[in-house]
Structures are given as C-alpha cells and as structure tokens.
Amino acid sequence: MITGTPKPIEEILEMLEPYDNIIVAGCHGCVTVCRVGGEKEVQVLASTLRLAREAAGRTITIREVSLERQCDPEYIEQMRPYVGDYQAVLSIACGAGIQFLAEKFTTTPLLPGINTGFLGVTVRQGEWSERCQGCGDCVLHLTGGICPVTRCAKSLFHGPCGGSVQGICEVDKEVKCGWQLIIDRLKALGQMENYGKLKPYKGWNSSRDGGPRRIIREDMI
C-alpha cells in the first residue's frame, strides 16, 4: 500500500493562512489502512485546525469529507456539487489522490495534508516498512525475493559494499543490510549461483527517470 505521515500542523496552518472555509478530504484507500488519511484522521485534523484557528482568533469553517478513493475519477466527481462553495481543499490522501483532485477541480486550490511516503507493508500495527520503489524492472527472481533497489541504501546490484557490518547497513543501526538479507536468502534457497553472476546495467528508464509513467492495457480499455 501507499503510506504517508501527517504533515506538521504548523505547516498546514501556514498553507491555510489565506482561507476561512475549506474542505478536509480523506480517502478510504491506502491512507485509511495506514491510518493517516481515513475518516478518523479527517475528524482529528478538522478538530485540530478549528481549535488552532480559533485560538489564534480567526475561525475556520471545515467540511469533513471522506471519498472512497481519491485516485478514481468517479469518486472525485462526488465532490463536484459543493467543491465550489469552499476556498480550498485540504486532502489527506496520497500525492496521487491530491493531484488528481487538483486536476479535476481546476479552480480550487488543493493542499496536501500528509507527506506521501512509500510503497510498503505493515510490519505490525503502527509500523510500516518500504518494500518497493516501483522501478518498473523487477529482478526479485535473481535476488531471493529481496529487492536490492529498495533494501540497499545505495541500490547496488552487486552488494554488499564495505559498509555492511554484521548484517547492519552503515547508514543506520536500525537498517539491515539488504545484501546480507539477499545472500542469506539465496543460501537458504540454494541459489548462491545467482550471486556470482554479473548483472546487466539497470534500465532506469522504466523508473521515475522517464517522467510520469503510464500504464495502458488495451485489453481493459
């Protein structure tokens, strides 16, 4: 899922400086699951903003909305009847959702309420960890199912580098060396021969370097 973290409230208040009448829009998708942008967070954020603004002597009117998903046009359309009544929309969906809203409602300023994080997994309740960078060119079959692009701080294809000590990355004591994990897994799978192979240069053109990526499935259109 797509993860995120709430933006510091000070930053949001600064964004909202020009406005007195806004929508706080949540999303029932990934951000609900990672508990940063669902209905509950809409309520918490809206309350927080009202309190902060009133304490500062200037009230703000907030409409609390949660869309099924902000990344599908049909759901976004549900906001159209009233979006014009508000000066801005503060979205706590992921960056994709926020942008999609902005694209659909061209005359209303769209503001981000969260910092979109990464494609991750729930390690346990309240802890998420990145697993994929969406590079568009998967090599997991060669690396024991552990992604060198995501898990190695240097995205090396022939790690580990000299900074790996007892399975820990030099970058942070909390970070496991991705390549140690790969090697351990390859050993367990009996696939160490994959390690001894020189891998071709990575084609980053399938990653972010190629501008916004598109997927078009003719069979589904």
């Binding site: 510091p8 409230i9 208040l13 309520q43 309350s47 927080t48 309190l51 902060a52 009133e54 304490a55």
Partner: protein
C-alpha cells in the same frame, strides 16, 4: 462514563476542547489491570497524541492528562481531580474560551 478508556479516541478528546473544555482528564484502570486487557494502554497512547497536538497548536499541552486508578481509590480520585483542577486554574482558561469570551462576553468555566 465509558466501558473502558480504550473506547475514547483523539477526535472525541479534541471535540471536548472544541466545545470549550479547559481541561480533560481521562481516568482508566491501573496499568496492567485493565478489565479489557489493554484498553488503558491504547488510551494512554491516544491521550499522548492529543497532548502533542494541543502543544503544537498552542492550546497548551497540560490541559489533558491520563490518570490510572483502581475502583477502590475514591480518595485518590478526589486528590487527582483537585490536582488537575488546580493545574488548569493555574494555566487559566483555554485560549478558545478567551477568544469566545472576547467575542461574546460569555465565559464557560470548568466545574469540578
């Protein structure tokens, strides 16, 4: 009154402040003694979050506090309530109430 402090959540706690509370006490079972196993631990985390929010939006952090008591500690409850009320009196009315009083000439006071 709630079945368990585990029922209370951040949005409701903030709601109390929006409605003009100068302070909120959350009182749960002793830690490790929760009737519902872990509700009070969850509540503590939520109270801590609201505490942090209030601090950042300058309502003041010491306006919310979680206390843990057993059902047999009536006098301790009274002491906690007095302590908290004194603390709130010292901090004074919530900025929300000050603003509202300025606008409407009405102040809602915290009763014990």
């Amino acid at each position: 009154m709630l079945p368990c402090t585990g029922r209370i959540d951040e949005s409701l706690l903030l709601k109390a402040f929006e409605n003009g509370a100068d302070g909120v006490m959350v009182i749960g079972c002793l830690e490790g003694d929760c009737h519902y196993v872990s509700g009070n631990i969850r509540a503590r985390a939520r109270v801590e979050r609201v505490y942090a929010i209030l601090e950042r939006i300058k309502i003041g952090p010491n306006r919310i506090r979680m206390y843990n008591l057993s059902a047999g500690e009536g006098s301790k409850f009274a002491a906690f309530a007095n302590e908290f009320v004194d603390q709130i009196r010292e901090i004074g009315p919530s900025p929300i109430n000050l603003v509202r009083a300025g606008n409407q000439g009405v102040t809602e006071k915290e009763a014990t």
